[in-house]
Symmetry: C2
Subunit: 323 residues, 2 copies
């Protein structure tokens, strides 16, 4: 990756150079290459609607190299898990980059802390689910099995900001060959600040000596680089979360222009499950969930899939003009 | 709680006064009172070996009141979950104060991120577990059901340092009536630093304006107050985790004296599953797990249960002398 002042490439380059290398890098690269190869060239009129990379959950920023303490970004992973289900339903193959321990597709309705609460042993030591939960659990197992068995879901876990950005780079460059068929749906809550690895305390920070002062650097804005270098033809959807509604839409519009996104989805912490605003260069579209039993992601993904199809069609029209 | 400079009571008082009130405080207080009442007076020669409060997982420190970012302490909750199983096996009733999303008793061997990987649907839509996992899953369900059905396990979740310390205070004062029958096994990774609620940013901290500077205050040392005020007769076991082995045992011994613990369990991040050192006023005892298939907690809990029995016996001897 060449250093380029307009894309922040210099900062990014030094971020990646200093980051601890990803564990399992070779295995991940292999799985990724297989997955993309299996699903490429299938989009135009084919069975597959496209390939989407969904990112989900919050990244951590270690404060010590042998990590005891870290800064974390709040995100249950609810949005990413629900969206993955709707993308699969719409016929996409999904690369799910998720925070370890965050919500998983088809598991959203199951109890979090002790799934053992769901099960009982029958008289012959067979595993039983109480009638009240049986339908939900069986549907979850059926849909999950289908996605895995048909090879439509690739799951890649991360914990730290270093792991997340390395995975995003690998997936971004691997998906470049898909051109307009590729989509990025960047729902992960990514740290804005980090402690550079080389300036990090090696051991646990001592607590005996009064208040703690910390200085954190800004994380380079990788959306630039995703857009300009890794996968420039892909359809890119990013998210803007704020707690203060007065600045939310302004900030979403600024991000749309600054990073050249196709869509920025604006949401507030207080009601992110109920309503989102899709911000595009054509204006704003508010999406609300019809009832507490529905997911706001259902309609959101419907609209995005439609926009992505148009994005793909544009290419086909361009190609048609040329031939 | 009176302000007392020797116990840090003043700082603790202002910490609790400023903390956001615990949700469900009344329900938790009711459950706790029931649980303790049900298991009190059962210890001396009775069925029950005692009541232990196990704390587990890491606390978070919010950096914003509407929390998007927080500082977290690494802890999977493995130690607390495993220890809870062995305490139950030894005949204790367990109050399990745990970080939401951390490891749970009897679930330690099950896959973390997608338990759906464990299940299949049979031909008649019955839920099946592949032969390879069937024994583990069935044992987990059986043991968990037994603990719950016999009313021997009370689970209380927390996320923030504010929630954790309020729960510990409630459990500490509720267990006071158990006297020497009570045990505290404080395996949670508790933050040393926090941002006082009233000085916290209300909204998400802006990322546009360069590096971030933070100042964090020290969390008051509640072990003092647990020991002196909340439950002075209980048997108290705390943990010391360090990444630097050179300072670990010194720090464990300092904590033993400073907080008047009965035992401080010293462990290193690099090998905490393999070996721990029990530090008491009588010296050090190293506990190693015999093999990768065993838990170091099995022998650790055996030794602690023995020490706790002696602690209870001392009271009986004292009472005997008086009569």
């Amino acid at each position: 990756m060449a250093a380029d002042p307009t894309t922040g490439g210099g900062e990014a380059e030094s971020f990646f150079r200093a980051a601890p290398p990803l564990r399992d890098q070779d295995r991940v690269a292999g799985d990724l290459a297989d997955f993309v190869a299996r699903h490429s060239g299938n989009g135009g009129g084919g069975r597959l609607a496209g390939v989407v990379c969904v990112t989900s959950g919050g990244t951590t920023v270690p404060l010590e190299q042998r990590c005891v303490r870290y800064i974390d970004n709040f995100s249950s992973g609810q949005r990413g898990a629900a969206s993955t289900e709707y993308f699969l339903k719409a016929g996409y193959a999904v690369i799910f980059i998720y925070r370890r321990g965050s919500k998983q597709p088809y598991c959203r309705f199951l109890p979090e802390d002790s799934f053992l609460d769901l099960f009982e042993l029958g008289e012959e030591s067979d595993i039983q689910v109480p009638e009240s939960h049986a339908a939900v659990v069986k549907t979850a197992i059926r849909n999950y099995r289908k996605a895995i068995d048909e090879g439509l879901l690739l799951k890649l876990p991360f914990t730290t900001i270093f792991e997340y950005l390395q995975l995003l780079q690998m997936v971004g460059t691997a998906m470049n060959c898909l051109g307009r068929q590729g989509m990025f749906y960047l729902a992960a809550a990514v740290s804005d600040f980090y402690v550079p690895w080389e300036s990090m305390a090696k051991h646990k920070i001592e607590s005996a000596s009064g208040p703690l002062n910390m200085q954190l650097n800004q994380v380079p804005k990788m959306l630039f680089i995703l857009r300009k270098q890794w996968a420039p033809s892909a359809f890119c959807v990013s998210f803007k979360l704020e707690t203060d509604p007065d600045i939310l839409l302004q900030k979403a519009e600024a991000a749309l222009r600054k990073y050249g996104m196709n869509v920025v989805v604006a949401n507030e912490l207080a009601n992110y499950k109920d309503v989102v605003v899709m911000v595009t260069s054509n204006g704003r579209t508010t999406v609300r969930r019809p009832s507490k039993e529905d997911d706001v992601e259902e309609q959101l993904i419907d609209l995005l899939v439609e926009m992505h199809s148009e994005h793909i069609m544009q290419l086909n029209q361009d190609v048609h003009k040329l031939t």
